[in-house]
């Protein structure tokens, strides 16, 4: 039997909640061993899509296969094989770290001999070993997150789905968490991660932008940035709000958004647009603005995709 090349196949999947269409005829494939990031604003349908993939929600139309098993026909088989970390992964706060881990191991049918070595490896890798007997409710946020991941991985799944795994985690823990995810991926595990953070998406092999339940664009981060039609102009000035208003009425500017300390304007050609933009800003009595063309970021690519 040959190994299936695809970890996840989504073909024309639709899911409605009453009148709203949460996922709309969506198609997507994830290759084995890939880190795949699903990026989109809140309410875009990220969580619904992940729940559909792991069979926690029923789909209305379409076909879904995980490791070549149809989710609609054999949800139990898919659920036994994958690892799923929901957005609000919760541990049992009144059970110890080790008891939580053991609970999931037994639910997933990990033999007790294997459990000892598997748990040992995970706890050592995640630097959780000294806290085995501590109640999960008394762990720090970052440690809880790592324990949740350890519980997700206890049965050595080949494909794991993580729904915004780093939401609400401090930057240091986030970086450590991603270091661990890379380690898992090097072992051959497919990762399907949804995230609202562009910097996390940049670390993925492939990225899909999702909005209103449909895929906007999909590819490697480089492809997505390369496919951006037009140039990005960075505007640095003190009065960003005024500058944004001034540039919005400029016909050459397709969109302008605040990016931290600066503004990013999307234009067809930077060489053509920069002089016009400078005039617009002066007309709005903004004298300190510095404009330059910059290579597009993933976020620029996403915003460009949303722009009319």
């Amino acid at each position: 039997m040959s190994e299936p090349r695809l970890a996840i196949e989504i073909a024309g999947v639709t899911r409605r909640f009453g009148a709203t269409v949460a996922v709309d005829r969506l198609s997507l494939t994830v290759a084995r061993g890939e880190i795949f990031a699903l990026v989109g604003p809140d309410g875009a349908g990220k969580t619904t899509l992940i729940r559909l993939i792991c069979g926690a929600l029923a789909l209305d139309e379409g076909e879904l296969r995980v490791d070549d098993v149809a989710v609609t026909r054999e949800p139990q088989r898919v659920q036994a094989a994958i690892g799923y970390m929901p957005q609000r992964f919760s541990l049992y706060p009144d059970l110890s770290l080790m008891e939580n881990l053991q609970f999931y191991a037994e639910i997933f049918g990990v033999p007790s001999r294997q459990f000892a070595s598997r748990a040992g490896t995970l706890l050592a890798d995640f630097a959780l070993a000294p806290f085995g007997s501590r109640l999960a409710g008394e762990l720090s946020g970052g440690m809880k997150q790592k324990l949740a991941l350890a519980c997700t991985l206890i049965h050595s799944p080949q494909t794991i789905l993580l729904d915004e795994p780093t939401a609400g985690v401090d930057p240091v823990s986030r970086r450590e968490f991603w270091r661990i995810l890379y380690g898992i991926n090097r072992g051959g595990t497919t990762l399907f991660v949804s995230t609202p953070y562009m910097d996390e998406a940049e670390r993925a092999h492939r990225v899909a932008f999702i909005t209103e339940g449909a895929i906007l664009s999909c590819g490697t981060p480089e492809e997505l940035k390369r496919n951006l039609r037009g140039d990005v102009v960075e505007v640095a000035c003190a009065e960003r709000g005024d500058a944004r208003r001034a540039l919005r009425s400029e016909p050459l500017v397709r969109s302008v958004e605040i990016f931290g300390e600066t503004l990013h304007a999307l234009v067809a050609s930077a060489a053509e647009a920069i002089p016009r933009m400078q005039q617009d800003l002066l007309a709005a009595s903004i004298a300190d603005a510095k404009l330059r063309e910059i290579p597009p970021s993933l976020e620029d690519a996403f915003v460009a995709g949303l722009a009319p």
Binding site: C54, Q79, Y84, L91, Y92
Partner: protein, 375 residues
Amino acid sequence: MNWRRVWTIAVKEYRQFFRDHRTVAATMLMPLIQVVLYGYLSSDVRYQPTIVWDLSHTAESRQLLQAFAQSEYFSFKYTANSMKDVVRAIDDGDALVGVVIPPDYAKLLHQKKTPQVMVAVDASDATAARTALSVAQAAANSVAQRLQVRQLRMSGASVREIGIDVRTRAWYNPGLRQEVFIVPGVLALVMQFTMTFLSMSTIVRERELGTLEQLVVSPIRSGELILGKMIPLITIGYINLTTILLFAVFWFRVPILGSVLLLYVTVFVFFFTTLGLGTLVSTIAKTYIQAVQMIQFFLMPSMLLSGFIFPVAAMPPVLQWASYLVPLTYFLTIVRGIIIKGVGLDYLWSQLALLTLFGAAVFATAVLRFRKRID
């Protein structure tokens, strides 16, 4: 059915339950508190505190009062010196009965006239008041009869006292002790309350916590999850049952006349109703608060309709029919039958059959509704 997974859930539930000291205390103590409160507070219609204003102060008036006292329904706690005292004692709730004997009581008796004696009762509790009034009437009649016979004899006539001897029998509870009736009822009530609440909260809490979503995406099946959660609850239920029974027998001296084994078997059947009900509510409610409100909506009428307080036989027909839809009615009948009447399966099989039917229906609906989905 994978028994290892069932056991895993059961072990987890045991651990969580016994680590939560507050819940352990509430679950173990609440039944006892209920039994003690109901056992002591169940109003005993005998020995009602009584205030007497005896204006006659004669041997005759004392004879009448003695007849009252011998009935054991009146306990002469207070003596009054005015009508105001009587009214105040009843108003304040110190006394439930007031007896006033007029100054000319003995004189009228000797003149072969009919003296009037006033018996006033606080009729807030209609049952107790009705009993007190009829007992007072009967006591006075018997005194009057005896006086009449004596007077006839004194006038030289030869009379034999004729009376109808009504022998009363209070079956099953010869001492007419209210606690004998109430305590088995409390047992049934507590079993229903504790079990539905615990089963409901164990599932709703897990949904609120978010861990249910993880279990949905795991190989575990709904039946395994529910069964695993039920095993510890059944243990807790039996611990409760045993403590209540011990308390009933050794503290309240309520004898268990029937088979204790049959009682334990019946409770097992009842578990399916209560645990099924809790599970059913948890499949409908989204939050714990919602679930509590929904379960109260059922528990309250079921307590009133089951015959716990008001006998089903005395209900209007519509409510009688409604009471047959309440599983607690059957359970209560069986529990009282076993404990108070000492009857066995030969009398109770139909009740037990209906209870089993209810349990199976409720539990099956709950398991079917509890799909492994989060929507």
